[in-house]
Amino acid sequence: MIKIFLTIVVLLISSNANEVNIYTHRHYPSDEVLFKTFTEKTGIKVNVVQANADQIMKRLEEEGKYTPADLLLTVDVGRLYYAKEKDLLQPIESKFLEEVIPFNLRDKEGHWFGVTKRARVLVYNIDSVDPRSLSTYEALADKKYKGSILTQSSSSIYNQSLLASIIAHKGEKEAKAWAKAVRSNFARRPTGSDRDQMRALAAGMAKVAIVNTYYVGQLINSKSFSDKAVAEMIGIYFPDQGEDERGTHINISGIGVTKHAKNRENAIAFIEFLCSQEAQKVFTSVNYEYPVNKNVAPSRLLQSWGSFKEDSIELYKIGQNNAKAVKIFNEVGWY
């Protein structure tokens, strides 16, 4: 009896609706707009759970082959790399995606694809710093910056990825020496978000901060008068631009089809939509991120910051070194 009842309930719930189910870490207004547009264009309903990526990935892992999720959308390549390692994603083939997304911004086997780019740059207080005195991430280790660097704590996954990129380029030993030296140059014990670093920078607490570019965009376009004031007092500097230097560290927000996706075709259509010109324009204009699609130019605001040379390392190498980076942060006391 109970069995029959349950079967009926299940049948009612699992009616084959035309939908796609997403676990996402991203909590930006741009995404809500895009979900809506996708439904309008295709008639495919977008169902969303938005939560911390590390935890939602654990849910995905536990749910195993019964997961309702078709897509995992997250920020930071380290997590995508880990999701692939944990066998949570499946490879897909898409001519379109392979054509428009540069090689280094997607997984070789098609497990994940970048959808937006963000650069981790230096911002400086325009009153106290001549941008010509800035050069590379490595230069921040110099003693002349004592007491004048601001950045987030080591639990920031963006800092983890920055250090992981240094490990990938220069090895653990040099990366550790760098982290240790930068740590001893901190203006204060790391606290707050990237935005808070810029607020403290504008307050004259330090000379340089390490932040992601889209946070600068958020401050510039903020409804809060004080954040607008902060934005006016800081300048953006893209480090590592010299000829024999590797370029500014970039990271991605990326997406992959889950291993046990029930709506695989819809999921692929969704990824292709996110990388289409239309969606890429929304990402760059609403959320101030750089497009991954080669054929889409950054928004006017982003262009006003200037073009720059990107670190073209294959991003999975950053994911590989993530845990090592966390260990180094612990060892040098970059809390």
Partner: protein
Amino acid sequence: MINRWSSFSYILTFIIILPIVLVINHALGSETQTLIHLKETVMSEYVTDTLILVLSVAFVTLILGVGTAYLTTFYQFRFAGFFVFTLALPFAIPTYIMGYVYADIFGYFNHFHLFLRSIGIEEYFNVLNIYSVIIIMSLVLYPYVYLLVRASFEKSKSALLNPALSLGSSRKKIFFKIILPLSRPAIVGSLALVMMETISEYGITEYYNIKTFTPAIFNTWFGLHDSKSATYIAVMAMVMVLIVLIIEKYNRGKADYKTEDTKAKVKKQHLKGYRLYLTYTLLSMPIVFGFIIPLIWMGVYSYEYAANILDEKFLGTLTNSFVSSSLTAFIIIVLAFFVGYTSRIFPTVMNRYLSKIISLGFTMPGAVIAIGVVMLIINIDKWLIENYITKTLFLGGTFFTLLFAYIVRFFAIGVHTVDSSLERISIDLNRASRSLGHSYFKTMIKVELPLMKNALLFGFALVFISTVKELPMTLVLRPFNYETLATKAYTLANAQMLHETSLYALGIIVISLIPLSVILLKRHV
């Protein structure tokens, strides 16, 4: 002796702690490599920050909570009723929102510093530090102590105070010799809740970068990808709290805290002159900083945008919060009452410590409990599927999962409120009823329930508000497209949309007011 009552309690306890057991089981044989690494590097920092934060918050909430409860119970002054009500309100503001509010107000280009510069002070005060976290968490959490201790004061005041006063004891002496010792169960119970919630708090410790055990767990689990060592740390925190609770319970031993309620009026002292103004000042401080300032902040920000957001979606979110919170609170209070009553009528050693075991979930960060809940629910689902009862996930990713997680996490609040109140009711009443031939169940309904009504309502309100504010479990366990006021406020705050954030935060306060007003106004104290 195993009987029906006890077995029900055992089964319930088992179900509630099962997710935690699953997580711990997962940690067995933890990777010593990682633990050695942590011990050599950051562990001392984690332990120090945890101890400083937990002990300081416990101390401040003790002073604030007992102080405000004492002043509003034993003294009479104008607007006393107003204070009784508003003193509970800071509890309705989520800690992480309060953290944002003060970080914003003290921003270099914001109100506080603009004011300083206008009077010629150029100094920059950075508030993103552990002292701010201590103050903010104390402001949010002292109402636990205030509400539970006040309920206990109310019970003892007339029976004890009048004879003592007529015997000529000074008020100071009465407070320290009679009132305070008698309220020990309430003080300890509420402080336990405060300490557990402080340990498991994530949002504000992450934002202000305070290295307590909770960030340590996250750092180890998701940064070093070592879930075993992470759980090991979680268990360590749990054991610490458990030891404190057991020592206290043991120390209390057979001490008797029972008093009979009498209807005699207590001689409340009238406050006059400077003491009246001092009282006003003292009582206003936590209200102003813990409620009014954040409320003004939200009001200012949400004022212009209210009209844009107050639509069906907002109402839907409000309904979600209200339904999940009232269901959670109702289930927890009923079950906690059963468990408490069982250990009262069958006071075996096992039954007496059951309430301590069952409340363990409260020391664990919500996100870790969420993982335990997922493990449990998915295993049940897999069993159902393998036995051809269902085809897809039947419980996982549904509202039921979320509800169960709330119950696991907040059961501690129910248990502690029930316990601290039951300990004040003489067992003789129960025996008298039994000797008249009433069953245990009937006695429970006819004797204990009416006496406990207020305490149960308090418990209901505390669980309700905690659930409304709950964030980490809701985020990760929720069904598709399910939003609560807390998830919305958090998401919007993260996107720096302060106007929209504040409207949802206001929503949290407004629905938290419902159970609070029912209790506090009805009792017209």
